[in-house]
């Protein structure tokens, strides 16, 4: 599977993603944000980082980069798009995903491991996991507090579009396990068509034992498996 990783000025997880895609059996290549064509590609990934210094709002200015028209067209034609951390912020800012990511309620940049519960296993992004499986992976953000109006939150829940939730080790989405104040402890969501996913935690930083967790690898091995049933999410 050919994977394009878009690099913006200020991206800092692009190489982590590159290595992770290789580990998962995919063929990664970087695409600079000034380019206008994605080329022949199966999956697009928007990496974490601080594109444009988080000026104005995190992810806001990156949505105007030349490559983003091609990313939107790819997403609208059903191509899988994964946005992690700053990539998730870009997907919300561009309108490809609903809602917004606000300042953490602690006001602090939070960099630590969190526990996530897998909420849906029918998605192309999560079909490699067991239902309600608990995953450990790091977060590293200051604006990860997911916000949407009540109607949007209800629609996301009703349509099974919340893929990951912050929980404690018993799998309970208690307030103390919510690292940033996200509405309903939401850590990752997918669009209505099932092909665009955004999440604040970093699965690409949990793919080798030396990193402390390998729980993120399943997302990539499944997504990049040649047998992945794309578009059935």
């Amino acid at each position: 599977m050919r994977v394009v990783i878009v690099t913006f000025p200020g991206s800092n997880c692009d190489y982590d993603l590159y290595k992770c895609v290789q580990l998962a059996g995919g063929a990664p290549e970087f695409r600079w944000h000034r380019e206008t064509e994605l080329g022949d590609v199966d999956v697009v990934m928007l990496p974490g980082g601080f594109s444009y210094g988080d000026y104005l709002r995190a992810g806001a200015i990156a949505t105007l980069s030349p490559i983003m028209d091609a990313v939107k067209n790819f997403a609208e034609s059903g191509g899988p798009v994964l946005g992690i951390c700053n990539g998730f912020q870009m997907l919300c800012e561009s309108g490809l995903l609903p809602g917004a990511l606000l300042r953490n309620r602690s006001l602090l940049f939070s960099s630590r491991d969190v526990l996530l519960r897998v909420e849906q296993t029918s998605s192309i992004f999560t079909q490699g996991y067991d239902s309600k499986q608990i995953l450990r992976m790091p977060i590293a953000h200051a604006e990860g507090n997911y916000h949407a109006d009540v109607e949007t939150l209800d629609r996301l829940e009703g349509e099974g579009r919340v893929l990951f939730r912050y929980t404690d080790r018993d799998g309970e989405p208690v307030d103390g396990a919510n690292p940033n104040g996200s509405a309903r402890s939401i850590a990752g969501i997918v669009n209505g068509a099932g092909n665009v996913m955004g999440m604040m935690p970093h699965p690409e930083r949990a793919v080798e034992p030396i990193l402390g967790s390998v729980d993120g690898l399943g997302l990539f091995t499944t997504l990049l498996s040649p047998n992945a049933a794309l578009g059935t999410g």
Partner: protein
């Protein structure tokens, strides 16, 4: 064409959690300013624009807010337009 000084105030929507405002509220209370009931923190953006009229300058700024300067999910905006004078030209 004239020059206008456009002031855009971007404010978190009412009811939305504003942790920065809350932290400032607590700090003001620690200085004994108990009369403060709420603090909300937004940002101010100044534009120096060329337009045929103040109305045209405002319409342009509204479009800019909808497309980029404010997040429609979380923020409201208010716009003030002033004809630029010698003093206001450096926005």
């Amino acid at each position: 064409m004239s020059r206008f000084r456009v002031e855009i105030r971007v404010i978190p929507r009412p009811g939305l959690l504003d942790p920065e405002g809350k932290a400032i509220l607590q700090a003001l209370h620690s200085l004994d300013y108990e009369q403060v009931r709420e603090v909300r923190v937004g940002k101010v953006i100044y534009l120096n624009v060329e337009a045929a009229s103040g109305e045209q300058a405002r319409e342009g700024a509204e479009a800019m807010c909808r497309r980029l300067l404010a997040n429609p999910v979380t923020e409201d905006f208010e716009i003030t337009v002033q004809e630029a004078t010698e003093e206001t030209v450096p926005a």
